[in-house]
């Protein structure tokens, strides 16, 4: 699904990623761990297409050159980023935003747009699975939401949009234990053999709930170690010191 070869990225001549290689196949869950400043969020931004980076390397998504695909088309083709800091958009109703986004993506996929009634039902069902209060759907998008509510809203969007490649950028930070479990359940229920996850996190605790197939340690813009689920526990004990 996703192949990254020798990915290098810099901002204003400061290099952040220095030859990163990563292969993700459908049905897999990958976790990226690493200390602050190792380039984790940069990787998420580049995969979703954020402007402002000088990028080189051979990046392929479903066989196509990723760099040639505009941001919104990446989203339409199934790349989803759960933001570390979801943006507030004043005046925009949350339900309306979900509706617009879902129907735009359905249209791009060649699916029929959903009418308002079925949409509302779908949104309400998914929201209740995540234990999201209905009232919050009529509020302005992310405005005045707590950190946990914002993160749940990201997972709600993921469940609605049904992406092929979901990138979770530190979705666990700022969540209490209950919210963490709900978010993890959201991810686990969405997981199947046709989609893949890239989970970016500092901590092992999210990985207690979502079992990754691979854990990669990112340091100084490179993957310095790849292992299976046990690697997370090891890191929790020893820290990142050994990998710097």
């Amino acid at each position: 699904m996703l192949q990254l070869q020798n990915l290098r990225a810099s901002v204003n001549d400061k290099s952040i990623l220095n030859g990163l290689n990563l292969n993700i196949k459908a049905g897999e869950v990958h976790a990226i761990m690493g200390p602050n400043g190792s380039g984790k969020s940069t990787l998420a931004n580049i995969l979703s297409g954020k402007n402002g980076y000088e990028v080189t390397g051979n990046l392929k998504y479903e066989g196509k050159n990723l760099q040639d695909i505009p941001i919104e088309e990446r989203a339409q083709k199934g790349i989803f980023l759960a933001f570390q800091y979801p943006l507030e958009i004043p005046g925009v109703n949350t339900t309306n935003f979900l509706k617009t986004s879902l129907n735009t993506i359905r249209k791009a996929k060649g699916q029929k747009e959903l009418d308002t009634l079925s949409l509302l039902k779908l949104i309400k069902d998914k929201a209740s699975e995540l234990n999201i209060d209905e009232k919050f759907l009529s509020r302005q998008l992310n405005v005045g939401f707590s950190g946990g509510e914002k993160k749940k809203n990201e997972i709600l969007q993921m469940k609605l949009l049904e992406p092929k490649l979901a990138i979770l950028d530190e979705t666990d930070s700022g969540l209490d234990i209950d919210a963490l479990r709900i978010v993890a359940d959201g991810v686990n229920s969405h997981k199947n053999e046709n989609n893949a996850f890239l989970i970016i996190t500092h901590y092992q605790r999210l990985l207690d709930y979502i079992k990754p197939d691979f854990i990669h340690v990112l340091s100084n813009g490179k993957i310095v170690k790849t292992g299976c689920a046990d690697l997370g526990q090891e890191l929790e004990k020893t820290g990142y010191e050994n990998f710097k």
Binding site: I71, I89, P90, G91, T100, T104
Partner: protein, 477 residues
């Protein structure tokens, strides 16, 4: 994706109707004024009123304190009256109206004929200097509501016109108001009788068609005791390289317990993307809350015109009266706007609320200018003002110039202002959810304007939302 690659959206209403016109002699003179008065078959008092204004005009000068400057207007090089020849014989019904005129309004999305007319909205269609047709007249008549061209009201309802015309905007007010008083051509007249709720939206659609012609619209709305009316005006004009002047006067009078809601969707031709052509929209709008517990609410969506210069205002005379001003002013390319309101608190317990949203893109300049004046006798009065500016790109400007005078210690005035740039991260967030650049901008800007958009009558809110998006297409680079 490079958002700068977006195409500039052409002005959808820029066509011209090819039609034979009757025009007044070129230039501003006593002859011109007599010509207008005669062709409209006006009584002598009206002509005298116009001439009084004209004499005043000779001794006063154009104001020049506004931010947007413009080249000197040659008032002798303008036509002050232009009307389709076919309108001279005063068509009795729509069947007698030139089909070209009907077609023009169809193209503008304002069907006038009985079968297709907008449901729930009575329309007065003004083409250059005359009213072409007014719909739903019969139904309004039954309730005693008068909704007709002002030229007709001068003849049929002279007592009402004489009593109220110029009572809110005196003919000596300022240059453009005085000019309008001398040469005004057509516009709408509304009278709502006591304790009557107008059962539908009243609406006037102004169309400038002829070239080298100024449009001098005059509208007068009177809401008698305990009545309610919601009125909306829309405006468009052809695309031309010349700048055309639109100098309107709008007067509102609300008596005891009456309410007037006045909405404007102004989409005059804004000029091209290099700033050539476009309308000078120099308008005087003022409402008097004359009776106790009366209310006047202005809502404006200003997206067109090369220069917009207007301050729809409220004079809160009656005790407990309420004035509101909700405004969206969008300037793109080389457009300029200097707009806001004046809230004059005279009565006790008067309240006013000002919500202004200014959006600047391209090389445009947008100024909010407003006055809140609380008189020494306006005990326990309150004002709340909120001015938000949104900038798109780094070549545009936003300015806020609030004047606050509070001469009464029991009264309070609040002012809040923000200026922000459209946020790249918000755009990225929307793009990441599948929306393209234009959809994302439209979503964010409509969110920014929401408090004002939701004040519009439902029939027009959707159109206004689209207009907001279209006005900004190609503006994020």
């Amino acid at each position: 994706m490079k958002s700068g690659e977006l195409k500039y959206q052409d002005y959808k209403y820029g066509f011209t109707t090819d039609i034979e016109n009757i025009k007044a002699p070129k230039g501003l003179s006593e002859e011109t004024i007599k010509f207008i008065s005669k062709i409209k078959n006006e009584p002598k008092w009206m002509l005298d009123w116009r001439l009084k204004a004209f004499n005043r005009l000779k001794v006063i000068k154009e104001p020049n304190w506004q931010k947007p400057k413009y080249p000197k207007i040659d008032y002798q090089d303008l036509y002050y009256y232009s009307a389709p020849k076919s309108m001279k014989d005063k068509p009795k019904s729509l069947d007698e109206v030139d089909p070209k005129l009907i077609e023009t309004y169809n193209k503008l999305g304002i069907p006038l004929n009985e079968q297709k007319k907008l449901s729930g909205v009575a329309v007065d269609a003004v083409f250059d200097s005359v009213s072409v047709a007014t719909t739903f007249k019969g139904e309004l008549d039954k309730k005693g509501i008068i909704f007709c061209p002002i030229s007709e009201a001068i003849q049929k309802h002279p007592d009402l016109v004489r009593k109220y015309l110029g009572s809110v905007i005196p003919i000596t007010d300022h240059y453009f108001a005085t000019l309008n008083s001398a040469v005004f051509t057509d516009g709408s007249f509304v009278y709502i009788p006591p304790n009557t709720r107008c059962p539908m939206e009243l609406s006037t659609y102004f169309r400038i068609n002829a070239s080298e012609t100024g449009q001098f619209e005059r509208t007068l709305i009177i809401a008698d005791k305990g009545s309610y009316v919601s009125y909306l005006e829309g405006c468009t004009a052809p695309m031309r390289d010349e700048n055309q002047l639109h100098a309107a006067n709008v007067e509102l009078v609300a008596l005891d317990d009456a309410e007037i809601k006045y909405s404007t969707v102004q989409n005059w031709y804004p000029g091209d993307k290099d700033g050539v052509g476009g309308i000078y929209n120099f308008v005087t709008k003022r409402g008097a809350c004359r009776g106790k517990n009366s209310k006047i609410s202005w809502t404006q969506v200003e997206t067109g015109s090369a220069i917009t210069w207007k301050y729809p205002s409220c004079i809160l005379q009656g005790d407990n009266s309420v004035g509101e001003f909700y405004s969206i002013a969008i300037t793109n390319n080389y457009q300029k706007a200097d707009t806001g309101t004046k809230m004059i608190h005279l009565g006790k317990n008067t309240k006013s609320k000002i919500i202004s949203k200014g959006i600047s893109a391209g090389k445009a300049d947008n100024t909010y200018r407003g006055l809140v004046d609380i008189n020494s006798k306006a005990f326990n009065s309150r004002n709340y003002t909120q001015c938000d500016s949104l900038l798109m790109g780094n070549k545009c400007g936003a300015h806020t110039v609030p004047y606050i005078k509070n001469k009464n210690s029991s009264s309070t005035v609040e002012h809040e202002a923000t200026t922000s740039k459209i946020n790249e991260d918000q755009l990225f967030y929307c793009n990441q959810r599948g929306l393209n650049q234009e959809e994302a901008v439209s979503l964010i800007v409509n969110g920014f304007c929401k408090e004002v958009l939701q004040q519009l009558p439902m029939e027009f809110a959707v159109e206004a939302q689209k207009l907001v998006s279209i006005s900004l297409e190609g503006s994020v680079g």
